[in-house]
Amino acid sequence: MLEKMIIGRFIPGTSIVHRMDPRSKLLFVFLFVVAVFLANNVVSYAILLGFTAFAIALARIRPYFLINGLKPVIFLIIFTLLLHIFFTREGPVIFEWKFIKIYEEGLRMGIFISIRFLVLVLITTVLTLTTSPISITDGLETLLNPFKKLKLPVHELALMMSISLRFIPTLMDETDKILKAQLARGSDLSTGSIKERVQAVIPLLVPLFVSAFKRAEDLAIAMEVRGYRGGEGRTRFRQLSWHMRDTAVLITFVLLVGVLLWVRK
């Protein structure tokens, strides 16, 4: 189940979207999320859908892979669609059978909101599928740089994020090891009442936390000894480079907003 989930996963590749600067992608997705709310009629929603399909094609993501990975989200979208269809009571009735009445406005709203939801999920998934977590962190760090003036600890936040990302596999391995050790000692995680199962997790979490704290301490010492003194006077090894294609992304966005403003009611 979790293997198939693609939300938040990164699939390395060489498409033009993969090679874009994380800053332009992040900026675009952020602005796009706002711009989606401009759409309010059939043409504008069709443009959004079309644009999203174009982005997916550019990123060379197979539609089947995407649909398969987003199954849980698609169920959620269908659920909201049904809610809207059955519970919005505006406009003329277009279908009536026994106690079920479907109104035109309900159908319209349901479809529009589902498309909006779908487009948002798809475009953010394209971002995470084509950008490694560490580039997202780098992109965020540079984008948030102006907020340093407002005393936002941008560098520290980015470092925290990159260290967390780096330690996820390490802690996963550790969890697995502890789990096996506890199973060997007769702990039982798969049977019993919910209360018993929750209690069985405690002997898993306590050693994990203890070791995580130990690791944090070791890491802090290792970082200090290697000369880490905060963000001041630091240079960066991972460089971001802005290309024509990144400027093109932003121009595309401006055009998209222009078209949306023109076709909306």
């Binding site: 780096r166 690791r215 010492i221 290792a222 290697r226 000369g227 630091r234 240079t235 090894f237 460089q239």
Partner: protein
């Protein structure tokens, strides 16, 4: 010979308040003095709690002695020159995972360079060089969880080398590795010593590592028990066993052989030396 690091009558105790009331033996370091010369490999040995880890922590300025002085690169280590001093040495710790800061091999090697504000072009060059020195160039974009323990430690050594250090401290750097990983790391340190004039201080349990050193420093209960070449130190067989240290296998075998009446000539530090004497034993009679 130029002096790289030294300690002069250093005392240290982890629990400052109890120091007054408790006897001398609870001190982690008690009147410890030694000198490390340029280009040599000094191995620090001692059983657990003998003060050898404390020694390392004082050398890298994580703690300061309660009395006595620590000198590095002919300057007394203090709060003021701490960062400057640290940029001139590299330390590799015990746990390969807990000292890997970067998300990929090259990011980790660059970490100390970034911290010291080295310009980008220079960083790229130094990272390449350092990874080449530890033979990890093919793994430049690998993530840490795809590396073995020995490879991670080699990356840690590269991280230190990138700063062009004068002193490399190995704080039980091989103790969590499997035999193969240990071999890899020791090979690299040996290779580096022949290529660049690197001074090495290794704190270790591993007898193979100890035998490679130029000099050995034996710690016991916070005191420097003895300092000398491996030959000198291992001649004190029973003394060493008293403070809880093992003797190299070859040395133990040759002692046992002598005890049963086999008249062996030399002192055997390594198995090779012992085997060489044994197979020529009947000729030399």
């Amino acid at each position: 010979m130029k002096e790289i690091a030294s300690m002069h009558h250093v005392e240290f105790s982890y629990d400052m308040e109890e120091e007054e009331s408790s006897p001398m033996s609870t001190k982690a370091l008690n009147n410890a003095s030694f000198t490390l010369y340029e280009g040599e490999w000094l191995a620090v040995v001692g059983h657990n709690g003998s003060g050898k880890s404390t020694l390392a922590k004082l050398l890298i300025g994580l703690m300061f002695p309660s009395s006595g002085e620590v000198h590095l690169f002919s300057e007394r280590l203090s709060e003021e020159n701490l960062w400057e001093t640290r940029s001139r040495m590299g330390i590799v710790f015990q746990n390969p995972d807990n000292q890997f800061v970067g998300s990929t091999v090259q990011d980790d090697v660059a970490f100390a360079l970034e911290n010291n504000g080295v310009p980008y072009d220079m960083m790229v060059k130094r990272v390449q060089e350092a990874l080449e020195q530890v033979k990890m160039k093919d793994y430049i974009n690998h993530e840490p969880h795809h590396l073995s323990g020995g490879q991670k430690q080699r990356v840690a050594i590269a991280g230190a080398l990138a700063m062009h250090p004068e002193l490399l401290i190995l704080d039980e750097a091989t103790s969590m590795l499997d035999p193969q990983g240990r071999e890899e790391v020791i090979e690299i340190v040996k290779k580096l010593r022949s290529e660049i004039n690197l001074t090495v201080l290794s704190i270790t349990h591993d007898l193979e590592e100890v035998l490679l050193a130029d000099r050995i420093l034996v710690m016991n209960e916070g005191q420097v028990l003895m300092v000398g070449t491996p030959q000198e130190i291992f001649q004190q067989g029973t003394e060493l066993e008293k403070v809880g240290l093992d003797l190299p296998f070859a040395l133990r075998v040759s002692e046992l052989l002598r005890a049963t009446g086999v008249e062996l000539q030399g002192n055997h530090m390594t198995e090779e030396e012992l085997v060489n004497e044994l197979w020529t034993f009947h000729f030399s009679k």
